[in-house]
């Protein structure tokens, strides 16, 4: 926003809201935001945007979401619904198949994988990731969701990692929801503690000790969201701004973490990696 000439507390006021990891509060939070009559809402969550959507047809909502169509935020990316547009940070859920492929190339004989998902994203697992379940089945990998409790705190993450150890899980896929980014250090630490190889949606996880990531450039996506915000504040209609979908994906590998897990990235993976952290 700063590069578009907005300076907080001078010509821009920012009200910050958080559900603090409690998905049962999304509805109340959405109603509170709408009642405050902001000029524009930036929702860094598809599920919260879904709660906001029926409450206003006039306040523009700019959303950062995994797959906005699969997530029920809009029905069309090119011509978004009414007062909503934004960016997709996980363009095309086929990217999950690719993540599983990279994980299975790193962990030989991968057999029992979990996908880490907040309880608020159950629909995402049931509908959006059906192709991933089919792809895993074809190569003999058992895959299931591990759902975090509604009260999403450190204890909730520790609990599911303990369960995965009991279930002899040998690979983890961390889904794209924002809750995980907030807790990225905790997740990377727990994966290390439980010696569980994991693939992540963004490099921010690998920067704090995660094994590998494959996904879009989050910083670039957020810059686009700021650009859209500026456009709308200058009078553009959200319906006239197509959802931005990134087409560039980056593969980032953490060799130090691999070594600590007793793994080695295959040459084929190292050859296509955008960055290898030593």
């Amino acid at each position: 926003m700063k590069r578009h000439g907005y300076v907080e507390r001078q010509n821009l006021l920012v009200d910050r809201y958080s559900a603090l990891g409690r998905s049962e509060h999304y509805g109340d939070l959405a109603r509170t935001i709408i009642a405050s009559h902001p000029d524009l809402i930036i929702s860094l969550s598809g599920p919260i945007a879904r709660q906001l959507k029926p409450l206003t047809t006039t306040i523009p909502i700019l959303v950062s979401s995994g797959d906005p169509v699969a997530g029920g935020v809009v029905t069309n990316l090119a011509k978004p619904d009414g007062n909503i547009t934004g960016v997709s940070v996980d363009a095309g859920l086929g990217v999950y198949d690719k993540r599983l492929q990279f994980l299975s190339e790193t962990v030989r004989n991968l057999r029992n994988v979990r996908v880490l998902i907040p309880s608020s994203a159950t629909m995402f697992w049931e509908t959006g990731l059906a192709p991933l379940r089919e792809a895993a089945g074809r190569v003999g990998i058992r895959i299931a969701a591990v759902l975090l409790s509604e009260k999403l705190d450190g204890a909730a993450y520790e609990r599911v990692f303990d369960e995965m150890e009991t279930d002899r899980v040998d690979g983890l896929m961390v889904a794209h929801q924002g809750e995980h980014l907030t807790n990225r250090q905790l997740i990377a630490d727990l994966a290390a503690k439980h010696r569980l190889p994991a693939v992540y949606p963004h490099r921010e996880f690998v920067d704090v000790g995660g094994l590998l990531s494959y996904g879009t450039d989050l910083g670039d996506a957020m810059l686009r969201l700021a650009d859209m915000t500026d456009q709308v504040m200058k009078g553009a209609k959200p319906a006239g701004i197509p959802f931005y979908q990134q087409i560039k994906f980056e593969l980032v590998l953490n060799r130090t973490t691999a070594k600590s897990l007793g793994l080695e990235f295959p040459v084929s993976l190292l050859a296509v990696a955008d960055e290898v952290i030593e």
Partner: protein, 62 residues
């Protein structure tokens, strides 16, 4: 420009159990001033700043 009450620190209302806005609020109808709301599922409001993690740096800064 009509000033609203300044809410300091991380104001978490017990009744609602989620974080309320943390900022100096001003009437958005004042000429030239825009008021936006940013909402996240889990991030603490004090981290949602230009000095916060990449997501917030990119949106509010750059």
């Amino acid at each position: 420009m009509r000033q609203r009450e300044f809410i300091a620190g991380t104001a978490i209302t017990a009744a609602l159990s989620f974080a309320k806005p943390v900022c100096a609020q001003t009437d958005a109808r004042s000429p030239g001033i825009k008021r936006i709301a940013i909402v996240h599922t889990a991030e603490k409001p004090e981290g949602m700043t230009i000095n916060g993690r990449l997501t917030f740096k990119a949106i509010l800064g750059s």
